[in-house]
């Protein structure tokens, strides 16, 4: 499922010459320094591949033979590595480190010798070999870049003078490595493809998952004894062939890479998405659900046209291209799958349109037209910080958006809690609560008329009516005392939501005084009286309840928000009143 789809994506990338993805057995790696040699293995120069200024210099990415997974042992990469391996530079002057460095250098040479037996006739390889065997590195150590290399312990590789590619990239070398890679069909069936292959004991790390170790973490790993079955070791617990392992990790790392257009952050879940075949929806998806770049107004054109197409009843086309969305979150040096979606582009378009339809609520003209998932999630977190989003919530919300299922109840509870704590309802939270209620009503096929996009004077749900009443009472106070620092909202919003009976009694007493004050100042209160009368008329005969259930608390918030937006958006009301 997940790994298979990723492995297939790798195949797609491999067939696309623009993707720049590493072929089997290779990987993309930033390498800052190249040692330039001539054909006889004589040192010519050190080339700096970094671009940028000062400390922000970034090295160029090269495709090099796949690196070893290094732990405490000495393991050399093929033809590229750190100064310790290439030149035998010890970490310190200690006896232990010196021995280790010499050992590393030996391994580095041995790896080249083992991989390329003498009969492969390549100028690049023989130059490197001659250079390393001569062990005369004084010209290198004398180079002006050397102190920097020594300090950063950065990766180094080789290039032949006059060549445009690295030594490990020379056609002969690539061909030879490709032949070694293709070991033929032996071993165990791979649990992903079913083809016989040698099971990988260790899987390459996945880098770029938000919150995971920067050196990378694993999806498939058995890093404790408790994870093992039948006495099997490491990757043998789940035979995944080496080819599949390489393909899925390379594909995932490409998707997660810095600057990738196919990743978004949803709560704590790093989310990647791809289509089975090249599809423009890959570009649109992050626009729909991702957070737009700071300070840049996103182009909502595609989203608007998608929504209008769905609204006018024109289906978004019979596009059955499979589309995948994968949410990853770190857990103790491992990566856990938070959610996984597999469906067609058409299906996903419908679900996304539905989500935006559900979250659509009346807004101030300066507000952003569409709310990103991140904005929705952060609205439920204390201080509006991403770190305070409850774990797992992001994944749950993303799943309900993608599947068109009900939003998690914790989302509603979180939004209401923040409304109460901050004693105000902003647009994002109102949108969230409305979306939750609307979606729940639709899926449960409830007959009750649910809150809408804007003020609905016919809605007589007690929560909604009380929310409106609260907004009216606040308006009366504002008219009576202009420029107050603290309104009834700042004092009573939370209490009015949870125990309306007590609070509204008090508020109505206050309103009598406020109205009197407005009248005394010579202004008319007809409009306010009329509005209050109208809202009060909606309260059922049984009166104001002592408490409200969570959903009604939500409707309270939405009713308040709607009524208040109505004051701002329709100027005719206040003109009539003043």
């Amino acid at each position: 499922m997940i790994l298979k789809a990723l492995a297939e994506y790798y195949e797609r990338l491999l067939n696309d010459p623009d993707s720049g993805v590493a072929p089997p057995g290779f990987e993309r790696k930033p390498i800052p320094y190249l040692i330039v040699l001539d054909k006889d293995g004589r040192f010519i120069n050190i080339r700096d591949t970094r671009t940028g200024e000062g400390k922000k210099k970034t090295a160029r990415d090269f495709i090099v033979p796949q690196g070893e997974k290094k732990t405490s042992g000495v393991k050399a990469n093929l033809l590229w590595d750190t100064p310790q391996y290439v030149f035998g530079i010890p970490k310190s002057d200690k006896e232990k480190d010196r021995k280790r460095a010499a050992d590393s250098q030996e391994q580095f040479l041995k790896r080249i010798a083992d991989t390329f037996p003498n009969d492969i006739d390549d100028e690049g390889i023989s130059a490197v070999r001659k250079f390393l065997q001569a062990k005369d590195f004084t010209p290198v150590f004398g180079h002006e870049l050397w102190p920097e290399i020594l300090e950063t312990k950065a990766n180094i590789t080789f290039m032949l003078e006059g060549d445009t590619c690295l030594v490990p990239q020379r056609p002969q070398v690539m061909k030879h490595l490709g032949e070694i890679e293709d070991k033929g069909e032996t071993g165990q069936p791979c649990s992903i493809t079913g083809k016989a292959d040698i099971p990988a004991e260790l899987h390459p790390s996945i880098k770029g998952v938000w919150g995971a170790q920067s050196s990378g973490a694993n999806i498939v790993s058995f890093n404790l004894d408790a994870f093992r079955s039948f006495g099997k070791k490491k990757g043998l617990n789940a035979p995944v062939g080496q080819k599949t392992t390489f393909a899925y990790t390379t594909a995932l790392n490409t998707l997660l890479a810095k600057g990738s257009r196919q990743r978004i952050q949803v709560g704590d879940a790093s989310t990647v998405f791809w289509a089975r075949e090249q599809h423009e929806f890959e570009d649109d998806f992050s626009l729909f659900l991702g957070e737009p770049d700071k300070g840049r107004e996103p182009d909502y054109g595609p989203l608007r046209s998608l929504l209008s197409a769905v609204r006018t009843g024109i289906p978004p086309g019979e596009d059955t291209t499979p589309f995948y969305v994968l949410g990853l979150a770190p857990n103790a040096s491992r990566i856990a799958i938070r959610f996984w979606y597999e469906g067609s582009v058409r299906d996903l378009k419908e679900k996304i349109a539905q989500h935006f339809e559900d979250t659509d609520i009346i807004r101030a003209p300066h507000d952003r037209e569409f709310l990103s998932l991140f904005q929705l999630l952060v609205a439920t977190a204390a201080e509006g910080k991403a770190d305070n989003i409850p774990p797992n919530l992001g994944g749950e919300v993303a799943r309900s958006v993608l599947n068109g299922s009900v939003y998690p109840r914790t989302l509603l509870a979180g939004a209401i809690r923040r409304c109460k704590a901050e004693q105000k309802v902003n647009r994002v939270r109102a949108a969230l609560i409305k979306a939750f209620l609307v979606r729940e009503a639709r899926i449960r096929k409830s007959k009750i008329k649910e809150v809408g996009k804007m003020l609905d004077t016919s809605n007589d749900n007690i929560g909604y009516v009380l929310g409106r009443l609260f907004a009216v009472l606040e308006r009366i106070q504002e008219q009576a005392h202009s420029g107050l620092n603290k309104t009834i909202r700042d004092t009573y919003f939370s209490a009015a939501t949870s125990s309306p009976l007590v609070i509204f009694k008090r508020l109505q007493e206050l309103a009598v005084h406020h109205l009197a004050k407005i009248r005394n100042s010579g202004k008319s209160t007809v409009w306010l009286d009329k509005l209050m009368g109208e809202v009060m008329g909606k309260i059922p005969a049984s009166g104001i309840p002592a408490t409200l259930v969570l959903e009604d608390q939500g409707r309270f918030a939405v009713g308040y928000y709607h009524q208040r937006q109505d004051f701002f958006n329709t100027s005719k009301n206040s003109e009539e009143g003043e």
């Binding site: 499922m1 999806i219 408790a226 079955s229 617990n237 789940a238 996984w340 599947n403």
Partner: protein
Amino acid sequence: MSRSSPFRLKVSGANACFTRPEMKVERVSYDIMTPSAARGILEAILWKPAIAWKILQIDVLKPVRWESVRRNEVGAVISARNVQTAMNRGNGNLGLYVEKERQQRAGLFLRDVAYVIHADFEMTDKAGSDDNVTKFEQMFIRRASRGQCFHRPYFGCREFPVDFAFLPRDAEPPAPIPDSRDLGWMLYDMDYTGKEPMPRFFHAVMQHGRVDLRNVEVRS
């Protein structure tokens, strides 16, 4: 070897996790029940050394839905060497303290699942002289219809119990979902015959909600 006539058992539950071997640490389930999980359910109802269950077909009755849950699991095993030392010495502390070894792990589980398992059994060479197919057939029908089991059957993990109902031969089976999909390679069962237990895989294809296991190619 003589085979029984095929049985049908309807199984359902609130959750299930048929863990994929490659994602068994931070668990992710297969889309549907694996044959080995189905075998486990039948063995919970009736198993004797004389019989070996064969799963013929699995019908999927509810759409595949997911749920992600974090729960506590234990991250350690008692070391075999410590046990050996303790045995040689005659004393020692072999306790595993769950509170100390507890760790939280994520899981992507299935929710609200229901299947119909089609299966029969084969007599093994462990069958005694007074064992015959009819005897075990009757035993299974009796036990399954009464809801008897040796241990409570479960969907992949012990915390996801199975509700089962025996479907008599003349009963109309519930309709599977109208969904056809390639489910990829799936664990078939473990092969215990060799020196070391080895997994066996098969290519699972769901056609109109049915996964036919009768003539699948099993690779091991």
